[in-house]
Symmetry: C2
Subunit: 327 residues, 2 copies
């Protein structure tokens, strides 16, 4: 049987350069550059809660890192270092080869793509729980925040929303997609793109930003409450894929589009004078960027988010987004 | 029912000073001081693996932080910031008041004692899993490592070893302690002291250090393999409490003393000329510090750890320490 030490050596200890001390002591040591501040975030994936126990381990390794990269994207930070805390069921420890080979391959591949180094962590037996902590660099005082939205700002989102939620509903058999549709939507669910490059470039252009992990309405809601503002959104403009469009305007599709979790696109607000610079940035990075609404002054006690349908009618949503506890 | 946001606000979001951005965005932002390097470590406690499901939540909150502080102690780092990733079973989310009140109280109390700030984390539903990541500061290039032991170094340990293991054996009914003995040993198990101040002072005095979390033999073994050295230890000198002495020299007690996990004392090696300075430091900090053996040149292919009994006989241990996978 593999010891904890052997497992770390075999699957996770990879050469790391540019830090004083990596895996193998009581802590890793990093040396932040002068003038840099560090963005710190942590996001866990728990079996049965965030994924099905039988999820492809390659995709799971990929996604565990991707969701954390997405937090760095939302801060405009350059992701640099990660630690991985892994609780593994006995069955996976006993028959580790294929699962850990694939899990670590997915993790390391995405890490290499973003030049992120795995510098430490913890492994233990227990119900499958994958916890990644990520550390990124920002220039002093220069990061994207949730709290900077101003009245008159355009509200933008990157990419297309809701495909991951369609994929999940297909898995849960609440919806039947064709094989080709399912392949696309499950890829969006399992291997999301973190908009890391976009986030970094938005520091100069956006007033506020968040990544859409719990659904557009919930996450835009966080921008509003942190900024003390209200907003209007035109449902018609919220970008959906060609597949999404086939299912709109069904209630279920609208729910996926506006309140589906796991999109990992960025939602950000920016002054109108930056419209052309942002469009140009989207072309340069080959990321679709779409204006979906506008920030308004908060008139009542609470921020208000009004969604208008195609005929100008106000839309009341049944589901506001994903809450890890009440869902 | 409490939402994830409300839960964080109520139990974990406490005022933090001295950092640019705390809880409530996609990441926290910290500003390392010039000339400082950061020590990063993560340690998780999993129900059924590290603690019994019915463990007192106050003590659990305390211990989850203490084991991470101990890693900072072993590096000689000043602990500064922590994140907490918490997976909570539905039963605890539904009946959260007493459990989370107590858990967060234990966590925050120890954090306040060490002036450590909780700056972020993640909460999710799932089997109980408590993952803390800690970040500490060290001066550039000045930290304790496992790899610096040199032939002729004294091997030291702080405090007394094995009481936590006695407490665990009592809980597992492998041993019956008196009520008074059990109270002492369970306190050692549930609320370990992290030797944070000691670790920082040892930077000037020690060649190598580790915290004893998996048992003396296993953790001293890590120093030896990282340093490429061998060692001898005199069993008679390994410090045990008055309670431990009552059970010595039974095999079970020797096992607790030398291979019991959860001690969170420091094991370190230092040149002989530092003996009096180290004794003085122990007096100043009111921490017992004891020499238990000596580092020897490694003669064979692998580091060798020889333990001598009272009559000079070599002792062969059945159990080398705690492995999270093979135990």
């Amino acid at each position: 049987m593999l010891s904890e030490f052997d497992l770390i050596q075999r699957y996770f200890n990879r050469p790391v350069t540019g830090i004083p001390l990596g895996i193998g002591d009581d802590a890793a040591i990093i040396a932040p550059k002068p003038g840099k501040e560090l963005a710190i975030s942590t996001d866990c994936l728990v079996a049965g809660q965030h994924f099905f126990e039988n999820t492809n381990p390659y995709k799971l390794g990929y996604k565990a890192l991707a969701v954390n990269l997405s937090d760095m994207a939302a801060m405009g930070a350059v992701p640099r270092w990660v630690t991985l805390a892994l609780a593994l069921p006995r069955s996976l420890i006993d028959h580790h080869e294929s699962w850990l080979d694939e899990f670590s391959r997915g993790f390391h591949e995405l890490a290499a793509l973003h030049q992120v180094s795995l510098i430490g962590g913890d492994t233990t037996a227990g119900p499958l729980n994958i916890c990644v902590q990520i550390i990124g660099e920002v220039n002093q005082g220069r990061w994207l925040r949730r709290s900077g939205a101003k009245p008159g700002d355009d509200i933008w989102v990157s990419g297309c929303l809701g495909d991951a939620a369609l994929g999940l509903k297909h898995q849960l058999r609440e919806l039947v997609l064709t094989d080709e549709e399912a392949a696309h939507c499950l890829l969006a669910l399992d291997m999301p793109s973190a908009r890391v490059a976009l986030g970094q470039r938005l520091i100069e252009l956006a007033h506020s930003a968040i990544d859409i992990s719990d659904g557009l309405v919930a996450d835009l809601g966080h921008i509003l409450s942190c900024s003390g503002q209200s907003a209007t959104v035109e449902l018609e403009t919220v970008p959906g894929s060609e597949i999404m469009k086939r299912y709109l305007p069904s209630t279920l599709a609208i729910e996926c589009l506006t309140a589906g979790g796991d999109d990992y696109e960025l939602c950000f607000t920016a002054p109108k004078e930056n419209q052309s610079a942002i469009r140009q940035l989207g072309q340069e990075l080959k990321v679709p960027l779409t204006i979906i609404g506008e920030i308004k002054s908060q008139k009542s006690q609470k921020p208000e988010l009004i969604i208008y349908g195609i005929k100008g009618e106000k839309i009341v949503l049944e589901k506001k987004g994903y809450d890890h506890f009440t869902s």
